[in-house]
C-alpha cells in the first residue's frame, strides 16, 4: 500500500486561498447597501429617523422611538421588504450564475442558460393574457415558477437523452433550443393580445418596486435551500475545474454533481424570477467581478457572489426606484446599464487587487 506517512511534527499548514477577507468586504458592502436601501426613497425620511424607528421596534430593546406612524409604515411596509427581496433575488441570481459557470465550465453560463427565463416568461405571459383585466398578482409568481421549472426539466430530459453521454454541450444546446421555442410561443401570445403588451413587458423587464413581506416569505424557503446546497458544493465545483475526466478519475461523479447543482440553482432562480421578473446580467457580472477582484476558487466565488449579488441588486433597486421618481425604471435596465460598463472597466483593468 502507498500510505504516505503522517509526520510526527505537523507539517507546515498549506497556504490556502482564504475566503475570509473577500467575505468580510462583501458583508460590509451589503450592510452599506442595506443602509442606503432603507434610507433612500421618494418619502423624505432622514437616516437617524430610520435607525431610531428600527431600534424602537427591535424586540427586547426598550427604546421609545418618536417616528411617526406614516414614516414607520414607509420603512416597514415598503422599504424593508424591498431591500430584503432585492437582496434575496440578487443573492440567488449571482450565486446561481456562479454555480452554472462551474458545472458547465463555461464563463458565459448564467442562471437562465437552461430555460428558466423563457419558461418563467411564458408562464407569466399566459396568466397575464388569459386574465383579461382581472388582478393576477397572486397567481403570477406560481405560473412563472411552474414555467421556469418545467422548462429546465424539459431541457434536462432532452439534453441527457440526446447524444452518447450526458455531455454538457448537449444539455446547453437543448437549453438554447427549449428557450428559443418557449420564447417564440411567448412572443406569439404577446402579439396576439396587444392590450396586455404593457403588462407582459413590465413583468419581463423586472420590478421589485411593489415588494411585500409576503413575496419574501414566498421565495425565502426556496432561496435558502438552494443557497445552502450550492454553498455545500463549493469544494466539488473546484474539483470540476480540472475537467470532467480528471474529476472522474479523482472519484467525482460529474454528472451527479451537475444534476444536483442545476436542480438547486433552478429552484432558487425560478422562485426569484417569479417575484422579480427577468433581471439580467447579475448572474454573469457579479461572479466574474469576484473572480477579477479576488480569486477564481469557488470557495471564494460562491459565498462572495451570494453576498455581493445581494448588495448589487439592492443598490440597483434604489437607482430604479429613485432616479425618475415617482416613475420606476425597470430594474433589468439598471443592472445592464450600470453593471455592463462597470464590468467592462474591470475587465480592462484586470486584476487590481482591491479585495
Amino acid at each position: 500500500m502507498s500510505e504516505v506517512p503522517v509526520p510526527e511534527a505537523p507539517a507546515a499548514v498549506l497556504p490556502r486561498v482564504s475566503a475570509r477577507r473577500p467575505v468580510l468586504v462583501a458583508v460590509a458592502t451589503l450592510v452599506g447597501a442595506m443602509v442606503i436601501g432603507v434610507s433612500v426613497g421618494p418619502a423624505d425620511i432622514s437616516l437617524p429617523t430610520v435607525f431610531s424607528a428600527l431600534a424602537g421596534h427591535l424586540p427586547l430593546i426598550h427604546y421609545h422611538s418618536h417616528t411617526s406612524a406614516i414614516d414607520w409604515d414607509v420603512i416597514w411596509q415598503i422599504r424593508l421588504p424591498g431591500v430584503v427581496l432585492s437582496g434575496l433575488v440578487g443573492a440567488m441570481l449571482a450565486s446561481g450564475g456562479a454555480a452554472y459557470q462551474g458545472v458547465f465550465r463555461n464563463p458565459l453560463a448564467d442562471p437562465y442558460l437552461l430555460g428558466v427565463a423563457a419558461g418563467a416568461g411564458l408562464g407569466a405571459t399566459i396568466v397575464i393574457v388569459e386574465s383579461s383585466g382581472v388582478d393576477v398578482s397572486q397567481v403570477l409568481p406560481f405560473a412563472a415558477f411552474a414555467g421556469a421549472v418545467g422548462a429546465v426539466t424539459l431541457t434536462y430530459l432532452v439534453g441527457v437523452t440526446s447524444g452518447r453521454r450526458a455531455s454538457t454541450a448537449s444539455i446547453v444546446l437543448a437549453g438554447v433550443a427549449v428557450a428559443a421555442l418557449l420564447t417564440a410561443i411567448q412572443t406569439y401570445l404577446q402579439q396576439q393580445h396587444e392590450p396586455d403588451l404593457q403588462g407582459v413587458y413590465a413583468w419581463i423587464l423586472g420590478s421589485l418596486g411593489s415588494a411585500s413581506w409576503s413575496d419574501v416569505t414566498l421565495i425565502l424557503p426556496y432561496v435558502a435551500v438552494s443557497a445552502v446546497v450550492l454553498l455545500l458544493h463549493r469544494r466539488l465545483l473546484d474539483v470540476l475545474r480540472v475537467g470532467e475526466d480528471e474529476a472522474g478519475a479523482l472519484g467525482i461523479h460529474a454528472a451527479r454533481v451537475r444534476l444536483t447543482v442545476v436542480a438547486a440553482a433552478t429552484l432558487g432562480t425560478a422562485a426569484a424570477v417569479s417575484v422579480s421578473g427577468l433581471i439580467g446580467f447579475v448572474g454573469i457580472i457579479v461572479p466574474h467581478t469576484v473572480r477579477l477582484l479576488s480569486n477564481a476558487s469557488y470557495r471564494v466565488v460562491l459565498p462572495v457572489s451570494m453576498i455581493g449579488g445581494a448588495a448589487f441588486l439592492i443598490l440597483a433597486d434604489v437607482v430604479a426606484l429613485n432616479v425618475q421618481a415617482p416613475a420606476e425604471i425597470p430594474i433589468g435596465v439598471v443592472t445592464a446599464f450600470v453593471g455592463a460598463p462597470f464590468f467592462l472597466f474591470l475587465l480592462r483593468s484586470r486584476r487590481t487587487g482591491v479585495l
Binding site: V6, L14, H253
Partner: protein
C-alpha cells in the same frame, strides 16, 4: 496488483480495444508501448472507468466493475496525457484535489489531508511554490505536481499516460526517476503508456506492446524491444542497439 481481463472498447463500429488481457504484479512497473491509435490511452481510461467497456479489471483480486468512482479512485490513480491546469489555482489547492477520494461528498479537507499533501510537496521539492499560481510553474514542475496530486490519492496502483511527452530529455529522465523512486518508497504498482521506447526499456520491468487494439507482445524489455517485432508494428524500419553499459537503444532508420 492489477489484472485486466478481456477488455473490449468500441466507439460505434470501430473496435478500439479487442479482448485485451494482462497483469501488473504488485510493485512492478509495466510499460505500455505501441504505435499511435493502438489503444494505450483507451486501456488506461477503461481501467479508471472513463470509457464504457466490456470485460473488467481486478485490483488486488477485487473486481472494480461495481465500485463507486470514489472507491475506485482510492485504488487507482490516473495521470492523463494532457492534464488541465485551471488558471488562478494555487499549487496547494491543486495537490489537495488529489485528496478528493478520501473526502465525503459535502466534506472538506481535514488536517490529515493537509499533512499528506505537505509531505508530498516536500518530497517533490515544490514546498516553496505552494502558494503560487499554476501558470507560474515550468513544464517540469507541473509534471511533478500532477504526479503529486495522483500520489495524494494514496492508491496502490498508478496509471500514467505518456507522463513525459511535454518535457525535454533531461526533465524526462528526472520525472521517470521520481516515479521510480516513489514506486519503491510506497510499493506502487505502475502501468505507464510510453512513447519513448528507449526510456520504456530502461524503466519498465516488463513491456506490453499494443497494436491495433490487441496485445501484440508481452515480456521483458529485451524480449519485446526486438527489431522484427517493432518494425512490424510501428510500420517503420527500427534498429535496436546495445549501449556499452548494456542498455537497449531503439532508433529509427531513415527511409532512403
Amino acid at each position: 496488483m492489477i489484472i485486466f481481463d478481456e477488455v473490449t472498447v468500441r466507439y460505434g463500429d470501430d473496435v478500439a480495444l479487442s479482448g485485451v488481457c494482462g497483469e501488473v504484479a504488485a510493485g512492478e512497473w509495466v510499460g505500455l508501448i505501441g504505435p499511435n491509435g493502438a489503444g494505450k490511452t483507451t486501456l488506461l481510461r477503461s481501467i479508471v472507468h472513463l470509457v464504457p467497456h466490456e470485460g473488467g479489471t481486478l485490483v488486488d483480486n477485487t473486481p472494480t466493475d461495481h465500485m463507486s468512482r470514489r472507491a475506485l479512485a482510492r485504488q487507482v490513480a490516473y495521470v492523463p496525457q494532457k492534464p488541465e491546469f485551471p488558471a488562478e489555482m494555487t499549487v496547494a489547492d491543486y495537490i489537495l484535489l488529489g485528496r478528493s477520494p478520501h473526502i465525503g461528498y459535502f466534506g472538506f479537507e481535514r488536517s490529515k489531508d493537509h499533512h499528506v499533501c505537505a509531505t508530498l510537496l516536500e518530497r517533490l521539492d515544490l514546498t516553496h511554490m505552494a502558494g503560487r499560481n499554476l501558470t507560474t510553474l515550468s513544464g517540469g514542475e507541473l509534471q511533478r505536481l500532477v504526479l503529486g496530486r495522483a500520489l495524494a490519492q494514496e492508491a496502490p496502483v498508478l496509471l500514467l499516460d505518456e507522463p513525459t511527452s511535454a518535457l525535454d530529455l533531461g526533465r524526462r529522465v528526472d520525472a521517470l526517476e521520481i516515479v521510480d523512486a516513489l514506486r519503491r518508497e510506497h510499493g506502487l504498482t505502475v502501468l505507464s503508456a510510453m512513447h519513448d521506447l528507449t526510456l520504456a526499456g530502461q524503466f519498465s520491468d516488463r513491456l506490453i506492446l499494443l497494436s491495433a487494439g490487441r496485445v501484440a507482445a508481452v515480456g521483458t524489455p529485451a524480449e519485446v524491444l526486438d527489431e522484427t517485432i517493432l518494425t512490424q508494428h510501428f510500420g517503420h524500419q527500427v534498429q535496436v542497439l546495445h549501449s556499452p553499459d548494456g542498455e537497449l537503444v531503439v532508433a529509427p532508420r531513415r527511409s532512403s
